[in-house]
């Protein structure tokens, strides 16, 4: 091997430094690539880099079950109507107007003209029918499937008008229309295998490398003028929360979805901001199998409800990113009732008295999905709270996929902790759709004719926000508080970490990030 002499080394080092200095000005970041807009206004161009914790699972496309799915749905697809984040009043999206029949059995929607799918085909009423029918197909496991299946008639004779006929009045039909992503009818099979994701959204999926990245380019035929601002979005799948945090801090990504609340708290506020997704609430809860041993006695379930320290969960686990609840409804919901929501305030003495009435209680298995620090910490707190009142539980952390399978199959024994959603929608949606609450079949194996009747009655009221519906929700709430097959702990508000160089980030009620109005160059 030739030895490198001192002179050659110095010459090579000098040449390298000079080259670096000369080429550095030519390197431009994505932020710099964005063309400057009017002073203080949005800028066009550049590519947004985002990081998510969990990848896309095409077979779960209609289930909102992973950050990969919600990212693709939010960026590449649109729904017929859109709820603002703090209400359930529909606003136009792919449907521009609608009219509900007086008997509540039909809904006619006028569709937006000139909307193009990513493959260049125009959106018509046939796509509405195929998307809703696909959502109703059991193979996709959509949680609002029961509502979708209650749409029994489609009039698609006109391309820009569709009439939906219902089996019975559906108080939550707009929840369905807000939720179902409109998919190009010809690409549904490819969607199932992840070969194509063809929607009408502001960005189109150009590549998906499983476990690594999802790449989106601007949809040039997007129907909103001048949108989106960015040329594209590069989403990296970073399955480790520490690496996700490092990527955000080092500037490799401008948006992180999936960071712990503690990490978000610790982000320096001069360079980052934390967005709290109001309206996309989730609920942290303790589920119970009402057929398992002592749990069949409602007094034990009441003892658990009195024993848990909800405020501590909010303060120490959620870092203030939520609030304690006894019922699932968020504060703005028409079903929310302050008095009912405080019925099981922490009362250790009452819990102990109930336990004493019951006598000997067997050790109860307490299952939760491993890997989520919020759930793990909550389980540890609940276990200690229950031990304090004389209820012994054995923690049983299991794999997330196994947990979900057992939850959906109502195979979890004892008690469990996880999140649920859908209470941010029309209240009847929760009790006829979500796995933990569904009156027809739920994860707790709870059966009650009265509960089923009340849930069904609330669902069938055409105006899901009217006074009649609110009264019906009150009855459902009483059922939930009396039966306590599910013990609510806290409303959880999803949070995202964002670089201050990125502006205009929005979200949907299903925690889908929207980057239509997002642009780089701030901060």
């Amino acid at each position: 091997m030739t030895r490198l002499d001192r002179r050659t080394f110095l010459a090579a080092t000098g040449a390298g430094l000079a080259t670096t200095l000369l080429t550095l000005p030519g390197c431009r970041s994505a932020v710099e690539q964005a063309s400057a807009g009017p002073a203080g206004g949005p800028t066009h161009g550049g590519r947004i880099a985002a990081g998510i914790l969990t990848d896309l699972v095409p077979a779960n496309f209609f289930t909102n079950s992973s950050l990969g799915v919600t990212t693709v749905v939010g960026l590449a697809f649109e729904s017929l109507i859109r709820y603002p984040n703090d209400t359930v009043e529909p606003t136009p999206r792919l449907a521009t107007s609608w009219e509900l029949a007086e008997d509540g059995l039909a809904l006619t929607l006028e569709l937006r003209r000139g909307v193009l799918f990513h493959n260049g085909r125009e959106f018509t009423s046939a796509d509405v029918e195929s998307s809703i029918r696909a959502y109703a197909d059991p193979r996709w496991n959509g949680q609002l499937r029961r509502t979708a299946a209650a749409i029994t008639f489609f009039d698609t004779s006109e391309p820009y008008r569709v009439t939906l006929g219902f089996e019975h009045p559906l108080g939550n039909v707009f929840d369905l229309l807000d939720t179902v992503p409109v998919v190009d009818a010809g690409s549904l099979e490819q969607l199932a295998t992840g070969e194509a994701f063809v929607g009408t959204g502001p960005f189109k999926v150009t590549s998906w490398e499983p476990g690594t990245a999802i790449t989106f380019d601007r949809h040039e035929g997007y129907w909103v003028p001048e949108r989106p601002y960015a040329d594209g979005v590069d989403v990296r799948v970073i399955t480790d929360a520490t690496s996700l945090l490092s990527s955000l801090r080092s500037g490799q990504i401008q948006l992180a979805n999936g960071l712990s609340y503690l990490d978000l708290d610790n982000l320096p506020s001069d360079a980052f901001e934390v967005l709290t997704a109001e309206g996309a609430e989730q609920q942290l809860y303790v589920g119970t199998d009402v057929t398992a041993g002592s749990l069949a006695d409602v007094r034990l379930r009441r003892a658990i409800a009195y024993a848990v320290d909800r405020q501590r969960v909010v303060d120490e686990v959620l870092r203030g990113g939520g609030y304690p609840i006894n019922l699932p409804w968020p504060r703005y919901s028409s079903a929310f009732d302050e008095a009912r929501n405080e019925r099981y305030a922490r009362d250790v003495a009452a819990a102990r008295a109930l336990v004493a009435e019951l006598g000997e209680i067997e050790t109860i298995p307490y299952t939760y999905p491993v890997g989520n620090p919020l759930v793990e910490a909550t389980a540890a707190i609940v276990q200690a709270d229950l031990a304090e009142v004389g209820i012994t539980v054995e923690l049983d952390p299991i794999d997330q996929a196994q947990f979900t399978k057992r939850l959906i199959g109502a195979e979890l024994e004892g008690i469990w902790t996880t999140f649920h959603s859908w209470a941010q929608y029309t209240p009847s949606t929760l009790t006829v759709s979500a796995y933990p609450f569904n009156a027809a079949k739920n994860a707790s194996n709870y059966r009650s004719e009265e509960y089923a009747e009340h849930a069904d009655a609330a669902w069938r009221i055409p105006d899901g926000a009217g006074p009649e519906a609110v009264e019906a929700y009150g009855e459902v709430s009483e059922d939930l508080l009396e039966a306590l097959f599910l013990i609510e702990l806290a409303v959880v508000l999803p949070r995202y970490g964002i670089s201050r160089r990125l502006s205009g980030v929005d979200w949907t009620k299903r925690n889908e990030i929207l980057l239509t109005d997002a642009y780089l160059g701030g901060g």
Partner: protein
């Protein structure tokens, strides 16, 4: 290998009476004493001594955990959320207000149980199977294929599969370690047996009609002790990693009981709030592994006659 350990003479005739070939006992005893003394010297000076001291400190800390812990390792102290080291909490507190110092000490105990049961069980099972293989060629082939099968599983894949069947917990970790160490010890012992039985003095003993059990006890096992001791130290250090990895993946010791692996796994996410939460158990793991490696090296050098 098996032919040499049967009671058949070199000419094919059955050789009687082990009493007729009783060896020179003082010479055997002297050889065994020399081996013991070499190992003892290795462990009482240099790297062996350092290794033993490090291990001793950790074992002592684990054994005295109830005395040295100011808090119950499961107690959630009101208001003490993710405190940094100092005051009432030497290493601070964790995300649900438990004392990290107390949990680390009790985590050592959990690891000691896993190591003290899992590895010796694997060593015993492996050795017995290896000796079983000396009975006949067919048994030896069957045992070796079983070892091949067990060795073909990556450790964590096997751990995850077993956990899916019997659930997580301390005894799952013990079972994983025992099963995975069985072929390792089996192969080490078999190799030692093959080497020793090929020695002329063993062949001579067999030719003189020494019974199989006697040959094993007098010649084979004493000479296989050194490689087994070295392997034991190495396996113990690997078992620390297996426990750590399983608990890190959430399939190890069942919470809320602490173990070194689960403490590291949990602590990583909170390093920014309390760095001692992750560093303390990590340091203990490093000390244990370093101690065991030094002991293994010292014993290995002694076995090879290296000073």
């Amino acid at each position: 290998m098996t032919e040499l350990l049967t009671r058949t003479g070199v000419d094919g005739t059955v050789v009687p009476a082990p009493a007729a070939v009783e060896p020179d006992r003082p010479e055997e005893a002297a050889a065994a004493s020399r081996t013991r003394s070499r190992s003892w010297r290795a462990l009482t000076r240099g790297r062996g001594l350092v290794g033993l001291v490090l291990l001793g400190l950790v074992v002592l800390a684990g054994l005295l955990a109830p005395v040295l812990s100011p808090w119950d390792p499961l107690q959630q102290v009101p208001g003490a959320n993710l405190l940094r080291p100092g005051g009432d909490h030497l290493l601070g507190t964790d995300q649900v207000n438990r004392d990290v110092w107390s949990r680390t000490l009790h985590g050592i105990r959990a690891d000691l149980v896993v190591l003290a049961v899992g590895v010796p069980l694997g060593a015993l099972a492996g050795s017995l199977l290896a000796l079983l293989g000396t009975l006949s060629g067919v048994v030896d082939v069957a045992v070796q294929r079983l070892f091949d099968l067990l060795l073909s599983f990556p450790t964590l894949v096997f751990a995850i599969a077993l956990t899916a069947v019997i659930g997580p917990g301390t005894w799952t970790v013990v079972t994983v370690i025992a099963v995975l160490e069985t072929p390792v010890f089996g192969r080490v012992l078999r190799s030692a047996v093959l080497t020793v039985t090929a020695q002329p003095y063993v062949e001579a003993s067999v030719a003189m009609g020494a019974p199989r059990r006697w040959v094993l006890r007098r010649h084979v096992l004493p000479n296989a002790r050194d490689p087994l001791a070295v392997q034991l130290a190495l396996s113990l250090s690997l078992a620390v990693f297996v426990e750590g990895a399983m608990s890190f993946l959430g399939i190890g010791v069942r919470p809320p009981a602490p173990s070194l692996g689960s403490l590291i796994s949990d602590g990583i996410g909170y390093a920014e709030s309390n760095v001692a939460y992750v560093v303390a158990p990590l340091v203990v793991v490093v000390v244990v592994v370093l101690g065991l490696q030094l002991v293994a090296q010292a014993l290995g050098r002694a076995a090879r006659g290296v000073r």
